[in-house]
Subunit: 246 residues, 2 copies
Amino acid sequence: MYDKSRHRNEEHMELPERPTKARVPLSKERLLRAAVALADRGGFEALTMRKLADELGAGAMSLYHYVPNKDELLDGMIEIVFGEIDLPSTDVDWKTALRQRAISTREVLNRHRWAVGLMESRPTPGLASLRLHDAVLACLREAGFSIELTIQAYSVQDAYIYGFALQEKNLPFESAEESAAVAEEQVRQFAELAEERQLAALAQEFPYLAEVVAGHVAKVGYDFAAAFEYGLDLILDALEKRRDAA
Amino acid sequence: MYDKSRHRNEEHMELPERPTKARVPLSKERLLRAAVALADRGGFEALTMRKLADELGAGAMSLYHYVPNKDELLDGMIEIVFGEIDLPSTDVDWKTALRQRAISTREVLNRHRWAVGLMESRPTPGLASLRLHDAVLACLREAGFSIELTIQAYSVQDAYIYGFALQEKNLPFESAEESAAVAEEQVRQFAELAEERQLAALAQEFPYLAEVVAGHVAKVGYDFAAAFEYGLDLILDALEKRRDAA
DNA sequence: AGAGATCTTCGTACGTTGTACGTGGTACGC
DNA sequence: GCGTACCACGTACAACGTACGAAGATCTCT
């Protein structure tokens, strides 16, 4: 990093030392943003108090002036993630609005994969989280869903969204464009296992799996965004029917 | 635990020392079962190589004779969990069969909450996992679903099941019976936040959230099993319609 | 029976983590 | 000038995963 032991201006021939970089004061805001960036870049296990401090050009213990412990740091980071999710619009019909917020949620969770599995589990929701919850509930209630059906609708949607994000969590690639990589990966897994059992025997033992992998995924690839929206529409349409049947 | 430094039968006045407990030899099987039990009891963070060794009356490094590292230990544990999930029956119609395996999956994931978030993410699926995947695909294909629709159907179901389990992951209570506890918890969270902002202001800022929490959840409680099955049936029925429309 | 050889067990030690504690420096009121 | 905050950080400790190599246990072959 840089030499912390040097004195201020004792040696007047020193470099100007770019005051902007070093002089930005620490703050909870800055901590959280740097932590999110670090986790995005290196994954959850790269988020270490020491590494985060290094990133900020500070000592590890300095962080504890702004955050009581690592758990609260995580809470703050999750609040940032929740804040990035689009609230359902009030200008369009409920299905379009909820569809959009679901897609937005998936995008955000794909940007911050470390957050999947932490967001729903935190015991104390923050303001951004509450705001989002309230907006979604508002959208459903104003669309004529009963309280009971609203709760169910929320439960189904969120389970689906977070479950889908969970499955995408540690895919080897980043964006859905290079979907052919999935096929390669799948096939490679088969090949790996084939070292223990014979490949033919494996395809024979799991014929339907082989059919799907070889016959479809490997051929046309797999578009996660499209798959997500298919299931999403399936759920939203079904919810609408339940509402109208009541 | 017990005194590891004692010699075999040097001191003949020793207790019979229950040979069954201490004499059961270590084995990968035993490791995995003990590890699952430990994680079930104390949560994921309680699963430590040292604690696991203690549990087995062994030294920490002894474990590494049966498992190359902790990650492979986790893989083995996850295989056990997958093995506990009921395969879809071939004797009943597809919807009943898949309904049953979904319910079984939720139960298993509720028994082993530490596994949620690990199972889908492992890069190398085991045999139990493959067996389950194949059986589910078989069920759908034989019910007349096209390959494309089969993939979609699988994706939607699993996303929903794992997502639901994720939401249940760190609930404060174990079984769904004491569902009133949820309400209490929810209300307590409101009360906690009310220390920063006023309670009335909070209910005013999030009116729909307040309506749902106070107006319904707190009154009738929340039955997770029923909610799960409601969403599950919604999805399965919708899938059936898509199949018949093709 | 004795001598390797092989299989299991484990003590010690290292590097990394979160963080308790106390110390030093800077800023600002009087 | 002198406290009184506040802010930054060095050191230290317990707990973690695990590399290394040395013991003990068991088996094999003569």
